[in-house]
């Protein structure tokens, strides 16, 4: 049970003067239940890549396997794939359209062929997962705050009970609390439901805090793939390709360079705090 990419290529406008390779020789395997961060600057291919994972874009070369099955083989049900691999687009609240929150979240399950009652049950469960109580069900989605709208949109995908949840910049434009609420709920969902979560993000701080593995994209290729502390060790190279490490990484490297005996690979505030305190206790 996993998502596996083998030599994925994607070329826009192949055979014309405008030919651009958006993805080049992408290989990875994402085991069940992983919390993965996908980072890269604008235009690095990360959004193109996630659209491959639920079959919205078909690779111009290479294979993609979901649960061991080649999704490009003849007769493979893309509809089934899309209900198993849920994709939450950027600014998903722009896609809300129903008169009330509950109907909006029911749309996916109803589309999957569920009965009205069963769909409502799914929708209610999904709304609870994103922290929206009963009192929101009958409200118009357009009257909610930005963060609440976004949670309704995420619930719309969760209601289809996907095994893999992909979110393309789910916190863009939210205030700090709204951002923390969404990320904390995703972390809880990942823990409790054991689903695979793929988080596409620009924020190195968020990625360092939540994910167990990072894939860095650059110019359509995978530049790094590993644990956050491994990946952020290359902070100088990351800067050269227009990315950065979390602020903490820079502080730790500067401290180390000034002679403090700290673990320079700490990437979160909590890790940094521990290693700095330890350095001071040693005296």
């Amino acid at each position: 049970m996993s998502l596996k990419a083998e030599h994925i290529n994607y070329i826009y406008s192949a055979g014309t003067a405008y030919e651009i390779a958006a993805l080049r020789d992408i290989n990875f395997e994402i085991p069940d239940g992983q919390f993965l961060g996908l980072i890269g600057h604008t235009g690095s291919g990360k959004s193109t890549l996630v659209q491959h994972l639920n079959g919205l874009i078909k690779a111009t070369g290479g294979q993609l396997y979901f649960n061991g099955e080649d999704i490009y083989r003849e007769g493979y049900s893309m509809r089934e794939l899309r209900s198993q691999v849920g994709l939450v687009f950027q600014y998903p609240e722009h896609q809300l359209f129903e008169v009330d929150v509950l109907s909006d979240v029911c749309f996916g399950p109803l589309n999957q062929g569920m009965s009205k009652e069963a769909a409502k049950e799914r929708a209610r469960a999904a709304l609870r997962m994103v922290g929206l109580g009963e009192e929101y069900e009958s409200r118009s989605p357009f009257e909610l705050s930005g963060g609440q709208k976004r949670r309704v949109a995420i619930a719309g995908v969760l209601a289809m009970e996907p095994q893999v949840l992909i979110l393309d910049e789910p916190t863009a434009g939210l205030d700090p609390r709204g951002r923390d609420e969404i990320l904390d709920q995703l972390a809880a969902l990942h823990r409790e439901k054991k689903i695979t979560v793929i988080l596409v993000s620009h924020s190195m701080e968020d990625v360092a805090r939540y994910v167990e593995r990072i894939i860095v994209m650059n110019q359509g290729k995978i530049l790094y793939d590993g644990e956050p502390r491994e990946v952020f060790r290359h902070y100088e190279e990351l800067e050269q390709v227009g990315l950065a490490a979390p602020q903490v990484t820079y502080i730790m490297h500067a401290l180390k360079a000034s002679g403090l005996d700290v673990d320079e690979n700490a990437t979160t505030i909590r890790e940094a705090r521990e290693t700095i305190l330890q350095a001071f206790r040693k005296e």
């Binding site: 600057h41 604008t42 235009g43 705050s145 930005g146 963060g147 863009a172 434009g173 939210l174 205030d175 700090p176 609390r177 709204g178 620009h202 190195m204 701080e205 227009g242 990315l243 950065a244 979390p246 602020q247 903490v248 820079y250 502080i251 500067a254 401290l255 000034s258 002679g259 403090l260 505030i269 940094a272 705090r273 700095i276 305190l277 350095a279 001071f280 005296e283």
Partner: protein
């Protein structure tokens, strides 16, 4: 001299039920006083729905106050005869660059504002040139805006405002939709406008790292100003900021946590350089 002054400003949005009757009135700005000096760099912080964007729209007369008064360069924004002068002295940049660009070539887009104001052709070109220089986009002047990155587009939008020779620019979350690089480019351009061109800047943002260079920080919550001061004064109050749904810069947060754990660090550390320096000093003294 005051660039912008506001006195007891109140603004309300009405919410209508299905029959068109008002069923709820929301006070988005509630008794705000402001005093922004010429040449200042002022940052306004606040969570979504705190009233900061509504307040910003008062600063160039897109909205006028229900109660109280706003003066831009001494002119009352309620005075309809002065509205074009006001908008010319206080320009505005919004969140989404795609909604602000109209030209098919960068230099035409930047020239639109001055042309609309009736500036002579020769001077329009001079203004386009200097504005693109100010945001470091001269080499893209013949490009099509829709081939640019988000940060580049946003800088073109800023150049379009600069070309109108405003005394003040109000930016409403100009970096919210950009990646880290685009964010850096835009903030660098905004700081240069303030320091080199001496344009008054009002920057509304969620990103605390963008605020540390401001002369003054204003924090809004529920339509009111709840804190104001220098970045150092504001960010010394970690608990209070957290309680109004805001963050502090990472270096400040780490310093705060270390202090809680017993290290004798000073309040209000803002940058990573300061934190490193203070920790090294502390280490030498132990």
């Amino acid at each position: 001299m005051n660039m912008i002054e506001a006195s007891r400003v109140v603004y309300e949005y009405a919410h209508y039920d299905e029959d068109g009757n008002i069923d709820e009135i929301k006070r988005a700005v509630d008794g705000v006083d402001l005093d922004i000096q010429k040449g200042d760099f002022v940052a306004i912080l606040g969570h979504n729905g705190s009233g900061k964007s509504t307040l910003a729209k008062h600063l160039n007369a897109i909205l006028t106050p229900r109660e109280g008064t706003v003066w831009v360069d001494g002119k009352d924004t309620k005075d309809e005869g002065k509205i074009w002068e006001i908008r010319q002295s206080a320009g505005m940049v919004f969140q989404n660059p795609d909604n602000q660009i109209i030209g098919t070539i960068v230099e035409e887009d930047v020239g639109f504002g001055p042309e609309n104001m009736g500036v002579p052709t020769k001077e329009i070109w001079e203004r386009v040139e200097e504005s693109l220089k100010a945001v470091n986009m001269v080499k893209y002047r013949h490009h099509s805006p829709n081939k640019l990155s988000g940060g580049q587009k946003q800088r073109v939008a800023i150049a379009g405002v600069v070309a109108m020779h405003p005394q003040c620019i109000v930016l409403d979350e100009p970096t919210a939709m950009l990646d880290p690089n685009g964010r850096k480019e835009v903030i660098r351009a905004v700081r240069a406008l303030n320091q080199v061109e001496d344009i008054t800047v009002v920057l509304i943002t969620h990103y605390m790292e963008e605020v540390i260079y401001a002369d003054k920080v204003i924090v809004m919550d529920e339509g009111k100003i709840i804190m104001q001061g220098t970045p150092r004064e504001i960010f010394s109050q970690v608990e209070k900021l957290k309680s109004c749904r805001l963050d502090v810069p990472q270096a400040t947060l780490l310093a705060y946590e270390l202090k809680q754990a017993g290290l004798k660090l000073p309040d209000g550390i803002l940058t990573r350089e300061e934190l490193v320096e203070e920790l090294c000093r502390l280490k030498q003294n132990t």
